[in-house]
């Protein structure tokens, strides 16, 4: 077991809706990943700091308050600044269709909107892992 995938599930901003984030964290854990959950009200700075300290491969950002256009790109920028942009960022929550393209352009690798099955998240991670081998 040399390459266990480590995932940080994070709640940026002031949003308190954590049902989705906690479900994803627990479901990924039960599927064999190592998962760290940040809890609420994390700044982009604290998320990136935790991600680097914990040496994660992925960051999953969950946001339902509408602040994704501001906060997701900030996480990406800070990863670059800290030379940690090998960490793959994906996002989820109430994210309007119109915003998805621009988030992907800025470097978010996948956006999972309401109703997404955990299988889709896992297949995203697995496909990505295969690419890296």
């Amino acid at each position: 077991m040399t390459d266990i995938v480590r995932i940080l599930i994070a709640k940026p901003g002031l949003d308190g809706h954590d049902r989705g984030a906690k479900y994803i964290a627990r479901a990924l854990k039960e599927n064999g990943y190592e998962v760290i959950y940040t809890g609420l009200r994390q700044t982009p700075e604290s998320i990136v700091k935790t991600a680097i300290q914990e040496d994660v491969n992925y960051i999953g950002l969950s946001l339902l308050s509408g602040a994704h256009n501001e906060l997701f790109p900030q996480v990406i920028d800070l990863l670059k600044k800290n030379e940690a942009d090998d960490i793959v960022v994906f996002g989820g929550g109430v994210i309007p269709e119109d915003d998805i393209a621009s988030l992907m352009e800025k470097g978010v690798k996948a956006i999972f909107t309401p109703g997404t099955s955990i299988k889709e998240v896992i297949s995203f991670i697995e496909n990505n892992e295969k690419k890296n081998k």
């Binding site: 308190g16 049902r19 109430v94 299988k119």
Partner: protein, 557 residues
């Protein structure tokens, strides 16, 4: 032979003959039928002789103890519930426009949604507010914003509900100050502040201070309002968000009433007479898809609360025993897929709330899994209530499902299960301890997790999501909030700071700090003084953060 025995014999015979003949050839769809919250459903519920013997004790009559059948003697024959759509976004100017539109459309009360910085006591200018200003509600930084928010809305003519918790005293102070400027006496004001911090720790997340100073602020409001703003509902003890976080119907009622018990205990501990404040306590529940379970839930909640207030707290006043509640249809039941289907879900949930005897109702808009609702979808949501009120006929008779063997049985089961939780929480030492230990959060999360697994495994069907799916165009016309709102609000704050008497503001904040350090003082008058001088929300909460500290979430996975 007794009735029960006869019934039992008849039933067994039916099972072994009539029923068996059919099930041998055509088995039922499932081995086990359960409600949305996993309560086993009888194939067919039956009458018991005790139903009639216990009728007065368990159900009574409308407007009488234990209020199972409703808190008013006429219910909707007297007047309909208050149709109250939760709204607010962007600036105070934009929200004021939406409120006046809703009032023009026949809405009968306002319900103010604040943005997250306001709910967590940060000014728009704070770096914590980046990205969040005006997003999930209106941004209010100072009394000035509040004056604009209620411009041309006479505060003595409408009732206003404000979804505000940790900084509830500050927003109530802003509201009182606006009324003063409109020339309206405090004792004429009607409305509600949510002011329910315990469920913020459990489920909603907009806490600021630790539990004990938070409970002080809450009981300060109970005390202040009982004397100065007597028609104000000082708290809305909320199960809504607990259910949204994934709890069962039983957990929703149990944890909400346990929160209620904690508030009553705290207020009594500060020396307040239970009958002086208990009549102004109100509740807030969710209405989900399982129609009959939800109706039973509302009826059970009323009966349990009446018993708690009477037997545990010795309340004497009838008003203290009545569980009056607001309802919102279940946000988490809305699907992003085939959003038109949500109109049907909301209609069903509305029916449950009305058959359950709600005092006011918010109906969600079909597009809320996608973003903020548009004006058109909000109108359909309001019309749904009006159709149930005027066209469905269910408002003609009070508690029309009473006596349904199934509903009464479910009401009893929910009550029994709720008492089990209440006993357990009492053993833990009350709700503050139960939350600090993560017990409540863990119970809810387990339910949420099990629910979602059933959806994933298609044991639970969500139409349009895991069955009956169809290819769809991505939805258009979603409400967009101006991304530059933070700059707009910062400009407004600066204008206020340049025109107010800054020396007076500093003095008010200094006094507030001194008073906050003395735990036995009521802070409400000092917060009101600072509000009148245009101290910002962030300044006032900043002083209190300095004295009280901040809550740290106990993470449970």
């Amino acid at each position: 032979m007794s009735f029960d025995k006869k019934m039992d014999e008849k039933f067994q015979k039916w099972e072994s003959t009539t029923l068996k003949k059919v099930t041998d050839r055509f088995p039922e769809r499932k081995q086990e039928f359960v409600t949305n919250s996993w309560i086993p459903s009888d194939r067919v519920s039956l009458p018991k002789s005790s139903d009639l013997e216990n009728y007065m004790e368990k159900l009574g009559l409308p407007g009488e103890y234990p209020y199972t059948r409703g808190v008013q003697p006429t219910m909707y024959r007297g007047r309909f519930w208050t149709m109250r759509q939760y709204a607010g976004f962007g600036t105070a100017e934009e929200s004021n426009k939406r409120y006046r539109y809703l009032l023009d459309q026949g809405q009968t009360g306002l319900s103010i949604a604040f943005d997250l910085p306001t709910q967590i006591g940060y000014d728009s200018s704070d770096s914590m507010s980046i990205g969040e200003v005006g997003k999930v509600g209106v941004a209010v930084d100072t009394l000035k914003d509040m004056e604009i928010l209620f411009d041309k809305i006479p505060l003595d003519k409408i009732s206003t509900s404000m979804t505000i918790n940790a900084p509830a005293s500050v927003l109530l102070a802003f509201y009182i100050a606006v009324a003063e400027k409109q020339g309206i006496a405090k004792n004429k004001l009607t409305g509600t502040i949510q002011n329910d911090i315990l469920k913020e720790y459990i489920a909603r997340g907009t806490y600021i201070f630790p539990p004990r100073p938070s409970l002080r602020l809450i009981t300060n409001i109970f005390d202040y309002c009982s004397k100065e703003v007597p028609k104000w509902n000082t708290i809305s003890i909320s199960g809504y968000h607990i259910r949204e976080a994934g709890s069962t119907a039983v957990q929703e009622v149990a944890f909400t009433l346990a929160d209620g018990i904690e508030y009553v205990k705290s207020a009594i501990a500060t020396g307040l007479d239970v009958d002086k404040f208990a009549g102004r306590l109100s509740f807030f529940f969710n209405s989900h898809n399982d129609l009959l379970e939800e109706i039973a839930k509302f009826r059970a909640a009323r009966r349990i609360w009446a018993k708690i207030m009477k037997e545990k707290f010795n309340a004497k006043n009838d008003k203290s025993l009545m569980l009056r509640f607001h309802t919102q249809t279940g946000g988490s039941t809305l699907t992003a897929q085939q959003p038109d289907n949500n109109v049907v879900r909301v209609a069903m949930q509305t029916l449950a709330a009305v058959l359950g005897g709600t005092q006011s109702l918010h109906t969600n808009s079909k597009d809320e899994a996608l973003g903020l609702p548009t004006e058109d979808s909000v109108r359909v949501a309001l019309r749904t209530q009006q159709i149930i009120a005027h066209e469905s006929g269910v408002t003609n008779s009070i508690d029309p499902l009473a006596g349904s063997y199934y509903v009464e049985n479910l009401t009893d089961i929910i009550e029994k299960e709720v008492w089990k939780y209440l006993d357990k929480i009492e053993k833990i030492g009350g709700m503050v301890y139960a939350i600090e230990q993560g017990y409540v959060q863990k119970e809810i999360q387990d339910s949420a997790y099990n629910y979602q697994r059933e959806v994933e495994e298609e044991q639970r069907i969500i139409v349009g999501v895991n069955k009956f799916t169809s290819k769809e165009e991505p939805p258009r016309d979603i409400l967009k909030v101006n991304p530059n709102l933070r700059e707009v609000q910062i400009r407004k704050i600066n204008e206020v700071k340049n025109s107010r008497n800054n020396e007076m503001v500093q003095n008010c904040l200094k006094v507030l700090k001194e008073k906050a350090e003395q735990p036995d003082l009521n802070l409400m008058p000092f917060i009101l003084d600072a509000a009148r001088e245009y101290a910002t929300l962030g300044e006032i909460c900043g002083v209190l953060r300095g004295v009280f500290g901040e809550y740290q979430e106990s993470i449970v996975l």
